[in-house]
Symmetry: C2
Subunit: 223 residues, 2 copies
Amino acid sequence: MEKKVISKAVINRLPRYYRYLGDLLEKDVVRISSKELSERMKVTASQIRQDLNNFGGFGQQGYGYNVEYLHSEIGKILGLDKKYNVIIIGAGNLGQALANYADFERRGFFVKAIFDVNPRLVGMSIRGIEIRLMDELEEFLKTNEVDIAALTLPKTQAAQVASDLAKWGIKGIWNFAPTDFNLPKDVTVENVHLAESLMKLSYRLSVKEKEQQEKEQQEKEQQ
Amino acid sequence: MEKKVISKAVINRLPRYYRYLGDLLEKDVVRISSKELSERMKVTASQIRQDLNNFGGFGQQGYGYNVEYLHSEIGKILGLDKKYNVIIIGAGNLGQALANYADFERRGFFVKAIFDVNPRLVGMSIRGIEIRLMDELEEFLKTNEVDIAALTLPKTQAAQVASDLAKWGIKGIWNFAPTDFNLPKDVTVENVHLAESLMKLSYRLSVKEKEQQEKEQQEKEQQ
DNA sequence: TAGATTGTTAATCGATTAACAATC
DNA sequence: TAGATTGTTAATCGATTAACAATC
């Protein structure tokens, strides 16, 4: 059996293809060629075709790709044809932001509960989703099938909670805490490190600033 | 002049080095070798040395790296030795979450104002940061030096606001809207696409599920 | 059929890893 | 000095791009 492992670079690009195809679908575009898509997405047509052919031949020679079909196929590849039960751990602003983001439901991600250590928040609910005390987490996981836990809590608590979650059978963690976990390899962790994203921005800003300064310096010297 | 362009892969790793070194610093670790760091970070020692030597020789043969010094040097490379004035556009949950995240200040990012189209929010303030009406944005940018605008608003409004910001001189955009912008190349955009991150997680979960199913299938056949 | 565009192989490019001389 | 570990060159590996035959 062809056990083809798809490279991480390809997988990182798939959601972006999915987004662009979804946008085209909304604009009622029926077909698109790799060339046309490449111009919109600012990648090479070659890369698009190469990427897609990791999963199968979705196009047709002389025609291109059917937008609706390709969108749906990439959705399947990304596992968006399934439903996921999600819990949010940490009812701070970020946790609440995720709970409020109804758009995730459209993709099949349903927030079932929010947990927090703060007893004052207990009983509150966001879009009908109840905030519960952390103490109830283990029991909740016994009686509810949960696919993904989003961790929006302080770094100090994150590691402990993550290993508890792994112990209690959670297989998917969407981690917003600025730390890496050491978990059994059957647990999949996807990190969102906001601080690191911001640092990449400041890196690029300061590189450009330096370039600007050097340019000005050169102009001065030429006088 | 050696105009060495640093590869994107290297830059993506820098904030993670910075985080690990910061953690070591908190634990009062004075020195670390590339080998030891590589074990903690689960990358090769070779990669660490190769990455760092893009920017200079920060280590010492036979000794390793001084944690405090290396941390500080990477901070400078990332532009964290400077201060950045930030505005947040979109006072929804995510915008408020960012405004409340005091930790950014520790890195030199200061939120100066929050803007929203909703007049009801105007006058409210978060951690002393005032929420203002979008109409005031242009004027605000004339009288305040703003380095970075965080865009936490709906996709429908994002593109227009982004091009306004570019027009009004903003050079750094931290974009949380699920869309790409087409801006002059002197504007640096760093994207945080949460939905895409979640899709990567569901991809990996569904690949593992498929593997699991195949395994069970094989076991059945062997009987 | 002629034209267009895919799927796929081959060539190129870049990034990672290995190896080791330099040196603290 | 001997041992350790860097900085850096060379080898390997993987990803991207180019090219084109296949085919709609």
